[in-house]
Amino acid sequence: MTAIVTVRVQQQDFDTAAEIAALSHGRTDIGAVVSFSGLCRGNDHDTPISALTLEHYPGMAEAEIMRHAEEAMARWPLQGLTVIHRHGRIRPGENIVLVVTASSHRQAAFEAAEFLMDYLKTNAPFWKREETADGGSWVEAKSHDDAATARWTS
């Protein structure tokens, strides 16, 4: 069976369970499905957040995610993967990002999902702005995210 790679950048919410089911539906060659959901938190350390606004670079966002999806497909024996990343205004508790990987065995699915999330954080052109009581501010990139990405090239 052919591998199915789905990449979507969208404003609207997605149904995590439906996306997982869609990837493995009707197949008997998939033994492991790993999913990672990134959600909007209601606080950043002790500061309450009323919403996040995600700005993105249309076109490049899709292309950059697809490039890493193809790299994941080449690096691990995957039967398919799905990446969905939202943009626009997102409230606490809502979905931001979904990565689903499917493989015959769990190790490839776990590793590929982690690889994709690490690269999404540091290389996909999205920027989070937090809305707080005193206005808002752009979220700063974290050095531990760069370190997480770097380990895949060592």
Binding site: L54, Y57, L120, A124, F126, W127
Partner: protein, 83 residues
Amino acid sequence: MKVKYFAWVRERVGKAEETIEPPADVRTVGELIAWLTAQGEGYAYAFEKPKVIRTAIDQTHVQPDAAIAGAREIAFFPPMTGG
């Protein structure tokens, strides 16, 4: 060439995109950032820490030493914070 700005780079420059015509001796991304820095207060503020700025040429990440010849679209933005 068309230039795009995102996130706080966009806010500081004061526009999301524009068409620019840098002089012929501006050959690399680093040189273009230096040239833009001199184009006004907003630009100077946006590019005050050039090492922080990330750049894409035709929607692909590049380093500051990348040549800008032939580029259709150059984008400047802060380190990414998606995911």
